[in-house]
Amino acid sequence: MCGIAGIMYKHKGAGKETGETLINMLDCIQHRGPDSTGFALYGDQHYGKLKLRFYVGYEQDNSAIDQIKQAFEKHGASLVEEEHIGENYRAVVNFTGDLQKFAYAMENSSPKATVVSIGESLDIIKDVGGAHDVDGRYDVANFTGTHAIGHVRLATESDVKPEAAHPFWATGFSDVAIVHNGQITNYWKMRRRLERRGFEFRTSNDSELVAVYLAEKMAKGEPLKEALKNAIDDLDGTFSFLVSTKDEIGYAKDHLAAKPMIMFENDDLIAIASEEVSLNRLFPGEALDTHEPPPGSYATWSKST
């Protein structure tokens, strides 16, 4: 019940305004999901360090943030940079240990906080309201980088709250994010399978499942493309989703193709969205040579290095 969009600039050191671009693309399809809007943005300023975003609310007292900082210390992460922006606490730390363990520990660092994203490159920003509302609260427009994916959501089966907004971070895996339009019908079966292998889930949202599913495959050394191919076989339901990592973006679409998706590619960029109107916003007035991914298809793009 949503709209999705993604953008990747192909050239090295692109440093493009991915924030601004994605705001525009999502604004065009806001009718598909007026409840909340989210962005997964990839920048290269913090390679070698770890960026964390927590949802802490607007509360004035800093108890949640203090508890998070204590957890940093306890798990050997040293704070480099921090900021309380909107309802988020953003921190940059030096950390070299087991990321999955560290991530689960961060999830439990404070009863008042939840992890939004963790990665060297990834920042997830999501909240209730439209693309411009969220930008106003979190300054998305000034974000530069190589690629980004985003989502507008119409909440049906779960609440309207920031935690239920997309994108979803693959809990426990650095830099993996997903935006998804559709419904996974074998959610519980797949979730139990992953839980038996020790993975934790933060929500009952099927999109988190897709993220963790893909991240697990990649952690085992499978290329993203292979993981997407398997996802189409393993996941039941109707879906179009975009996934992103530090260096790649990709999509998968189920065999029923009930959830729309359309893409445009030229020498500079690849743009994908639920509706062509988002792509045309990047090229006003032009008749674009777009392409609709066939049912049951998947593909990935890497940024040049």
């Binding site: 019940m1 007026p34 049906t156 062509e276």
Partner: protein, 652 residues
């Protein structure tokens, strides 16, 4: 040629401008379209529109006589429901191009998306590139020409029409088969291609319906009907009804089909009563003038609301399930009582339109009888998602009722067992639905309310979607609501009782802080004004009556509505049977019944101490059974069990 710049004006303004230009016979060019939705929707004049770029969803949708030329691509549903006229798309088309067309010509130079020509009735859809899966899905007529490859499952469940493919036949759909190409077919296709200046030298293959699924293999043996009260009897085990079912299934080898809704004992309005002692109800002869009953429906976003003289309207029932005379009588009665009538599935007749003062026009997944002209003369538009007797299933109309006249209105072949699609081609989620709603508003200049009819299934989610997608009101139908034909087990076991449905709906609105912000018209087994008052007190904005209106007009509740030989002339298309039904007489009977309902509503509201029906509230009610208390969260008061019978005796 007048230029309209979509970088400067909204789609709504552009469409208004196009309508003006159409009236004057001028051509238009749309620049900077940038794939916006609903371009040209609702045009009914012979106008040429050039679109310089890409168009979004439903380009040229719901139009007649207009001609469109799109320079680049189009989104989903190009030419939706188009009558005459044409669209030429120079780029690619998204899913369901040519959906439900009724005569238009649509030419796509690039590739086209899945389910091309779904439920199309007449006209030609031509694609120069490749088609995606299920082209011709459930088509009822017309022609699809694919010069590239066919895609998978070509012609899936088509009922009629022709598909021509020049490239590879990738795979055939259910009930489709390749047939020999006649010379006249070949000439006709080439004449079409020549007319659109499409060079073609290849050979064509022809695909048509294989005829294996148009009718049920065996019909049910006619048996003496079991009266409703026996039918709904108290023992589940081996009673005469169960035996009859087993006997008939042993002959036909499939589920049974019947009319009416859930008949087994279920929590209903009888299990709710009034908290206050109102044994004095009915004593005041002049009570109708003392209670405010007028009810407006559907005005929340600025459309012209329906204006009902009491919080009651007629539930949607189709011309098809019912005879034309019955629909006419109901329309007449609705006007006499100054409430609204509803077309149900299958189109609007002139007699019905003329007779009804206020008429809601319903759109179903098969788009049977749906068209721009009747939309524009309706007082409300309604998207049917499902109905209480069979949530999640499509309508059934047995061959006996699919007469030539009826088939023409619906745009389908005569004499098939019509199983209407259970899904809309272009509504696959809340996100698509919002775009569809907007299309209907564009087509009618935002003048009339757009509502949604929901069968009680996943009420909580559905109501939230209805609210968020901006419907003007909801018609919510519980499982006691009837159907003209539905699977027997479905009617008994799939839906949710009416009192549970309204309770869940109101809880859902509360969960999203929308209490009181969405008008819900409750239906599903409303027998009288007492049920209506209880519905209003539970939180419904109004109630709708269907079966009771049929009974007022002579229905004997034999539940054989599906057979088509209704002895009272109500549920039949047989002229000999229909003769027995006198619309003028029955309209008066129905009107008197409706006035009885009015008096009951007034008496009870007055006795409960209210001046207006809109002051009724949950505080007026108690639940008489634990089940009803659980469903409605009303206080459980078994000590009041006698009271309801007393009230019923006083106001009946």
């Amino acid at each position: 040629m007048v230029k309209i710049d979509l970088a400067k004006v909204s789609v709504r303004e552009a469409n208004e401008k196009l309508r003006e230009l159409g009236e004057k016979g001028e051509s238009a060019e749309i620049i900077n379209p940038d794939a916006r939705h609903h371009l040209g929707v609702g045009l009914t004049a012979p106008i040429n529109v050039k679109i310089k770029g890409s168009a979004g969803y439903f380009c040229a949708g719901l139009t007649d006589q207009a001609h469109f030329d799109v320079e680049a691509n189009v989104g989903w549903g190009v030419g939706d429901n188009m009558y005459t006229g044409s669209v030429v798309v120079r780029g690619n088309a998204g899913a369901i191009p040519g959906v439900a067309i009724r005569g238009a010509e649509i030419v796509i130079h690039g590739n086209m998306g899945s389910r091309a020509g779904q439920v199309m009735k007449e006209g030609t859809l031509c694609c120069l590139g490749n088609a995606n899966f299920m082209a011709g899905y459930m088509m009822y007529g017309g022609r699809i020409i694919i010069l590239g490859d066919s895609g998978e499952r070509l012609g899936e469940d088509m009922s009629a029409g022709e598909i021509y493919v020049a490239g590879d036949l990738i795979s055939m759909g259910s009930d489709a088969k390749q047939v020999d190409l006649e010379q006249s077919d070949d000439e006709s296709v080439r004449e079409f291609l020549d007319r659109y200046k499409i060079p073609f030298k290849g050979n064509l293959k022809k695909v048509m319906n294989a005829g294996t699924k148009l009718r049920y293999a065996k019909s049910e043996e006619q048996v003496r009907s079991i009266p409703f009260f026996t039918f709904s009897g108290t023992s589940d085990y081996w009673n005469s009804k169960i035996q009859e079912d087993i006997h008939i299934k042993s002959q036909i080898g499939r589920y049974r089909v019947r009319g009416y809704g859930g008949a087994r004992p279920l929590p209903h309005f009888n299990d709710i009563s009034f908290r206050k002692d109102i044994t004095h109800a009915g004593n005041d002869p002049d009570v109708v003038s003392k209670v405010e009953m007028t009810t407006e429906v559907g005005g929340k976003y600025g459309a012209n609301p329906l204006k009902l003289s009491m919080p009651v309207m007629i539930a949607p029932m189709s011309y098809g399930a019912l005879s034309r005379s019955t629909k006419q009588a109901i329309a007449m009665a609705s006007a006499m009582s100054n409430i609204a009538e509803n077309t149900g599935e299958g189109g609007m007749s002139d007699a019905q339109r003329d007779a009804a003062d206020q008429l809601i026009f319903q759109m179903l997944g098969g788009r049977l009888g749906w068209n721009i002209h009747d939309m524009q003369r309706a007082d409300g538009l309604e998207i049917y998602i499902s109905q209480g007797a069979k949530p999640g299933f499509g309508g059934q109309l047995m061959a006996k009722k699919v007469t030539k006249e009826l088939a023409t209105i619906r745009g389908i072949p005569e004499g098939i067992d019509l199983r209407s699609p259970s899904r809309h081609p272009d509504i696959l989620g809340a996100d698509d639905l919002v775009i569809k709603v907007e299309e209907l508003r564009e087509a009618t200049g935002y003048r009339v309310p757009v509502s949604v009819k929901l069968g009680a299934g996943r009420v909580r989610d559905d109501i939230k979607i209805a609210y968020k997608d901006g419907f003007d009101f909801v018609e919510l139908d519980g499982m006691q609501g009837s159907t003209g034909a539905g699977g027997a087990e479905v009617a008994e076991y799939v839906g949710i009782p009416t009192i549970a449905a309204i309770s869940e709906a109101l809880e859902a609105l509360e969960e999203i802080d929308a209490s009181g912000k969405l008008e819900i018209i409750l239906m599903g087994g409303m027998r009288d004004g007492i049920d209506v008052v209880k519905s209003l007190a539970l939180g419904a904005h109004a109630a709708a009556v269907g079966t009771s209106v049929l009974i007022a007009g002579g229905c004997i509740a034999c539940m054989q509505c599906h057979v088509g030989q209704c002895v009272t002339g109500i549920a039949t298309q047989d002229p000999e049977h229909e003769k027995r039904y006198k619309p003028e007489v029955e309209a008066k009977n129905i009107h008197r019944y409706l006035e009885g309902v009015r008096w009951q509503i007034a008496s009870l509201t007055h006795a409960l101490g209210h001046k207006s029906v809109h002051d009724l509230s949950r505080d007026d009610l108690v639940a008489l059974t634990p089940e009803a208390a659980e469903m409605t969260k009303l206080p459980y008061a078994p000590e009041f069990r006698d009271r309801d019978a007393t009230v019923r005796a006083k106001v009946s």
